[in-house]
């Protein structure tokens, strides 16, 4: 798969790769047909029914992947329309493969098409970030580089909190937590890029960040630099 056309242009008036433009009415009509379809049944069947469903699902995933590439295109300024289309097609292929392995986990809490789109969006976003950082070093430093102060009076309060955070990072965090927090939150390395470079997962890094933030907040509340915690209700 990967070469057939896109039935839906999904980025405003942006032409599809084939040059055709879908009107908003076209998009809604196509979407309504897709929503009403028994995707799980057709994809779980065999023969022509399954093949048709696979083709149409792939087309939806390509649409979502193009949408995501279009959103993130400033991150890949050196790529023209052809290579950007390749990114979308490859991400849609990968998304289809992953989606099919998880088909039986679809519980119907959303429309199937919404469920499917998220796989294409995730794969595409990961690939765009990976390519955008492919020639960049990721430094896991243990000290923050900071920014230039705008003047001692104007930033006194902010600087006080910033200094407190910096001190808290030294005493409340492990070296690993500090390096991860600095890379993700100060140097703004994308979390999936950092995960790939370190041979770990996005979830593991976010957990490290969660613990680091909790430790910092606890330390800063104890020192009076942050107000006492108010925990939001709910678990989902």
């Amino acid at each position: 798969m990967g070469a057939e056309g896109d039935g839906i242009a999904l980025a405003g008036s942006r032409p599809s790769a084939e040059g055709a433009q879908a009107t908003p009415v076209d998009r809604v009509t196509e979407q309504n047909r897709a929503i009403e379809r028994d995707w799980v049944g057709e994809l779980g069947s065999s023969g022509a029914v399954r093949e048709s469903a696979l083709r149409d699902l792939h087309r939806l995933l390509v649409s979502a992947a193009r949408h995501q590439v279009w959103r993130m295109r400033p991150q890949l300024p050196h790529l023209g329309p052809g290579p950007l289309e390749d990114v979308a097609q490859c991400a849609a292929d990968d998304a289809l493969t992953i989606l099919l392995t998880k088909l039986q986990t679809f519980e119907g809490r959303s429309r199937f098409t919404t469920w499917a789109y998220k796989f294409a969006i995730l794969q595409t976003a990961n690939e765009v970030r990976r390519q955008a950082w492919s020639s960049r070093e990721v430094e896991l430093r243990d000290e923050d580089g900071g920014t230039t102060l705008r003047g001692p009076e104007a930033v006194a309060e902010a600087a006080d909190l910033a200094d407190a955070v910096r001190r808290a990072m030294r005493v409340a965090l492990t070296s690993y937590q500090r390096r991860i927090a600095l890379a993700l939150l100060v140097d703004e390395v994308p979390i999936d890029v950092l995960a790939e470079r370190l041979g770990t997962t996005r979830g593991a890094l976010y957990k490290t960040l969660h613990v680091a933030r909790s430790r910092l907040r606890t330390h800063l509340m104890a020192s009076g630099h942050l107000p006492p915690a108010t925990t939001p209700r709910g678990t989902r």
Partner: protein
């Protein structure tokens, strides 16, 4: 070490001290993101799925993907995503 190396930007301080409870992992966020996107698009003022809102404020990658999904859904349904996106960014 210079004077400049002793100070974090305001944005970095905000990001480092964000509350991230109730806990939700990136994997759980992905699992819930389809249901969440439809909910927020239909009811931007919803008070459900608190942990999703907390996670999305704290995880730029998940936030980009959630905003993208909301925008895509709105486009395919002929809706305006502005209110839902504003809620996600609040």
């Amino acid at each position: 070490m210079t004077q400049n190396r002793h100070h974090l930007s305001d944005e970095a301080v905000r990001a480092l001290t964000l509350p991230t409870d109730p806990w939700l992992s990136c994997e759980e966020c992905f699992e819930l993101s389809d249901e969440f996107a439809e909910l927020v698009l239909a009811y931007p003022a919803t008070t459900s799925m608190t942990a999703m809102f907390v996670h999305l404020r704290a995880c730029p990658a998940c936030a980009e993907e959630a905003q993208s999904l909301v925008t895509l859904l709105a486009q395919t349904q002929g809706q305006d995503p502005a209110s839902a996106l504003a809620r996600l960014r609040s």
